[in-house]
């Protein structure tokens, strides 16, 4: 076989202002790189990514007759695309332009920063490896594959639905997979939303209803993704739908089966554990699909083979105890992950007594108690005795900003505490005293500071301090909250009929499994990891898999909607031409199971 022509590699070392040049001797690095096999040209530039820097790279490619380019600068996720495009302009195929990160060794604030000597040594190694790789690299054959005009959306909350509707309106077939028996997600449980205090179901229902009737959208409730194979444009997805034991085609949602069911159990979802439901139930009035579902773990027929009263009550004959799990195979071109979040269960913070003291609840429970469609029909009553609370203390940052639980700020808890305080003061119990204990109030969204001001104007009392503990008075089941108000610098004991914990937002159960199925990463907090936290907050490591909503990290509804639209836009961008050019190796690999083992 004929010997390959020796490639001519150009190496561009970036000062990045002082970020790199201030931390190592770039001239020394340039000097030592000159002798590397394959290197035809080495230079440094103050900012390689700038217009001038790119012009110089393009000029060198032409002037020095370079056929390959390496830039040693920052993380590839920041600028690889920049230099690939720059190289392409000058006639170099994107696969022969590379960017390697030497800035991590020198950048002030970088966790990997080392002293200049070591930085030079590490950078040398990085550059050497990159040159070696580039020199040996052979052209990767690209092939054209069909881009399926369909997408999978995992999660039927507000983020997932927004993305699904966007893509469906653009003409793609969209499959929405939702673990719960109804779509709507957390938003359906909020009662009202800030800063407008709109009724949450009122502004959610148009979306859910439209998704339900949209000819391009298929809703798969009670379903989970089991496996994903393939690549962007051609993912093959396997979904398992758990039996509902109710035929959704014939069920009319009349509720006769629910009335007939003798088995009452705690409703942990729609009543947040504060009210009952039946073993056969319709999750809530605006549920979609508004069809009954049997909870087999609690159904008397499944437990001991008796009862079947629902079956007798159903005139439509929709009850079907013989339903089996159904496996569904789909081909889609893109996948949008919108699995949302869960509320941190605060029982591990034993100092606040959740689970031990009946009148300590979470904000999501409070939302259900305030909801006119909730377990108390919108009357705010204490769980232990059904009395109206005269004093309420809210505790912020429970499990958030806490090294013993979750170090991050959950971002939404300040605002929903304000929202609940406003609702109680304005609409529910105007005479009830409300105290909010906080470390910092964080209200940076549009109209949010004004909302905070309005809450203060209502006479809600803000106590600047994190409570150390909550005690219960055994006779009355009322509570005592110990907190320092740091503005006066004095510990206080607040008497409270009801204590409400504003808990961290945490990744939902199953996130780890899903990250394995999709081959995407999770961050230290367990949320799905974006390709770059600043510049590429929607893409993931896997081309064609995008993130939106709280699946990527705690966020509120407007931010979730924005990101959902962005994710849909990315998916559209990949699929709209109908075909995709991919390295042949990727396509060859498509039969291999996900999961790495």
């Amino acid at each position: 076989m004929a010997a390959k022509r020796e490639p001519r590699i150009g190496l561009f070392l970036c000062h990045c202002g002082k970020n790199i040049a201030g931390g190592l001797d770039l001239e020394a690095l340039a000097e030592s790189s000159k002798g590397l096999a394959g290197i035809a040209y080495v230079t440094t530039h103050k900012f390689c990514c700038s217009e001038g820097g790119q012009a110089e790279i393009a000029g060198a490619i032409r002037g020095q007759n370079l056929d390959r380019v390496i830039v040693a600068a920052c993380e590839p996720s920041l600028h690889l695309l920049t230099f690939q495009r720059c190289g392409e302009e000058a006639g170099i195929e994107p696969q022969f332009a590379d960017l390697v990160d030497i800035r991590k060794w020198t950048m002030p604030g970088s966790p990997q920063k080392v002293d200049p000597g070591l930085a030079l040594e590490e950078s040398r190694k990085t550059v050497e490896l990159a040159v070696k790789r580039m020199r040996l690299k052979r052209p990767v054959p690209l092939v054209t594959v069909k881009a399926e005009q369909a997408a999978l959306v995992i999660g039927g909350g507000i983020a997932g639905l927004e993305a699904a509707l966007d893509l469906a309106d653009k003409g793609y077939q969209v499959h929405v997979v939702e673990r719960q028996p109804t779509i709507g997600g957390k938003m359906a449980l909020l009662y009202k939303v800030y800063p407008t205090n709109d009724c949450a179901p009122c502004i959610l229902a148009p979306k859910t209803a439209y998704a339900n009737i949209h000819p391009k959208i298929e809703l798969l409730t009670n379903a989970e993704v089991r496996s994903v194979k393939g690549h962007v444009g051609g993912f093959r997805v396997e979904i398992v739908q758990s039996p509902r034991y109710v035929d959704t085609d014939t069920c009319t949602g009349c509720g006769d089966c629910v009335a007939a069911c003798p088995r009452r159990v705690r409703d942990d979802v729609y009543a947040a554990g504060l009210g009952p439901r039946k073993a056969v139930f319709i999750p809530y009035d605006q549920a979609i699909p508004r069809k009954a579902v049997i909870d087999a773990a609690n159904c008397l027929y499944f437990r001991n083979g008796t009862c079947r009263l629902c079956e007798k009550a159903c005139l439509a004959g929709a009850i079907d105890f013989n339903q089996q799990p159904r496996t569904i195979g789909l081909s889609v071109g893109a996948i949008i992950v919108a699995t949302g979040f869960e509320e941190y269960v605060p029982s591990a913070k034993t100092e606040y007594g959740f689970g031990r003291f009946g009148n300590v609840v979470t904000q999501f429970q409070l939302a259900r108690l305030l909801d006119i469609d909730g377990p108390t029909k919108g009357r705010l009553l204490r769980p232990t005795d059904g009395r109206e609370p005269r004093t309420i203390v809210m505790i912020q940052c429970v499990g958030s900003r806490d090294e013993t639980a979750h170090p991050y700020c959950s971002g939404i808890c300040c605002m929903y505490a304000l929202k609940h305080a406003q609702i109680i003061r304005e609409m529910v119990l105007p005479e009830t005293e409300i105290h909010i204990c906080y470390i910092d109030m964080r209200t940076p969204g549009k109209g949010f500071e004004e909302y905070y001001r309005r809450t203060r104007d209502m006479g809600i009392l803000f106590i600047h301090g994190k409570p150390s503990e909550v005690a219960e008075r055994p006779e009355t089941k009322s509570l005592v909250v110990k907190v320092e108000d740091m503005d006066i610098g004095r510990p206080l004991e607040l008497e409270a009929d009801l204590v409400v914990l504003s808990c961290a937002s945490v990744p939902p159960a199953g996130s780890e499994e899903l990250s394995r199925i999709l081959g995407i990463e999770r961050d230290d907090s367990g949320f799905f990891k974006e390709l770059h936290p600043k510049l590429r907050p929607v893409e993931t490591r896997v081309r064609g898999v995008y993130l939106c909503g709280a699946a990527q990290g705690p966020k509120d509804i407007p931010a979730s909607i924005l990101q959902a639209r962005a994710a849909a836009s990315f998916a559209d961008g990949e699929l709209r031409r109908g075909t995709i050019r991919l390295p042949a190796s990727m396509v060859k690999a498509e039969e291999i199971e996900k999961g790495g083992a």
Partner: protein
């Protein structure tokens, strides 16, 4: 037979003799052999005020003495137990151990990291257990509603008591009281500190804290308070008079050390075995409810 080096601490053998008396009696009755070591001194808990280093050296010295006898330590004082146990944690670090042993060599000692330390209540809970304690009960104390007071040093720092009580929701003393046949009483000020360690420097805050808990117990109509620390005992029992003088007359709250309660349940003599006569607060009410006449 379980054998431990008995660590009395400073306060118990000099000021809270009934605690020592009852503990020795209960341990004997339960088959726990206690060995007295003449070499034991202050654990260093209070020396850390002036010098953390001096505190550590005293703790290590006492550990080394127990280790030299091949014994683990059973401490009556929770603060001593905590101080010594925390030092065993710190001395897992080899550098620190070498440094401390260099000093201990001055007095011909070395600590290799073997001797373990636990407080009496924890030995009762873990080695004997509520089941066997219940089996040894001879007197019916079910008429007694007693509030448990754990004491800060029995619960904190968490690192020393890993796997034992959650300081925010402790249960073991509740269970031990129930095992002795009495009824543990829930009350809101359970976690409140007795203030004892600040008492020598400034008595006022400690007395205010004592008053707060006593008033809660009076409101709850408790038959008494059960403590497992001699300093808590001195504060709640010994200082009740001072509280009444300072904050006005109020009903007296009987205070028992846990081994006194357990000893009563196991049939011990209230005076000879358990030293109930040495209480600053009359304990007649307790004795009557335990089915015993007042001693003469």
């Amino acid at each position: 037979m379980r054998r431990y080096a008995l660590y009395l601490g400073c306060t118990t053998p000099t000021q809270v003799i009934p605690y020592e008396l009852a503990s020795r009696w209960v341990c004997r009755a339960l088959g726990i052999e206690l060995v007295d070591l003449a070499e034991f001194t202050c654990c260093g808990m209070n020396q850390v005020n002036l010098s953390l280093e001096a505190g550590s050296l005293l703790a290590a010295m006492n550990l080394a003495h127990a280790e030299a006898k091949g014994l683990d330590i059973l401490a009556l004082c929770p603060a001593c137990a905590g101080t010594l146990a925390e030092e065993t944690e710190r001395l897992r670090d080899e550098g620190r151990r070498a440094r401390i042993n260099e000093a201990l060599a001055l007095v011909g000692l070395e600590y290799k990291g073997r001797a373990r330390v636990r407080h009496l209540s924890r030995v009762l809970y873990e080695d004997i257990g509520p089941e066997r304690i219940r089996a040894g009960v001879r007197r019916d104390l079910s008429a007694l509603r007693l509030a448990p007071h754990y004491g800060c040093h029995s619960l904190k720092p968490k690192s020393v008591f890993e796997g034992s009580d959650d300081p925010d929701d402790p249960r073991t003393l509740h269970e031990l009281i129930a095992a002795a046949g009495a009824r543990p009483l829930p009350y809101a000020t359970l976690p409140l500190c007795c203030g004892g360690k600040s008492f020598p420097v400034s008595p006022e805050p400690a007395l205010s804290l004592v008053r707060k808990k006593l008033d809660d117990l009076i409101g709850r109509r408790a038959d008494g308070l059960v403590v497992q620390c001699q300093t808590c005992y001195l504060m709640y029992s010994g200082q009740q008079k001072a509280v009444r003088e300072r904050f006005g007359d109020r009903p007296l709250v009987p205070v028992l050390l846990y081994p006194q309660l357990l000893g009563l349940a196991m049939g011990g003599d209230p005076v000879d075995d358990l030293g109930l006569d040495l209480s600053a607060v009359p304990l007649d009410g307790i004795l009557v409810k335990a089915g015993l006449a007042k001693w003469s």
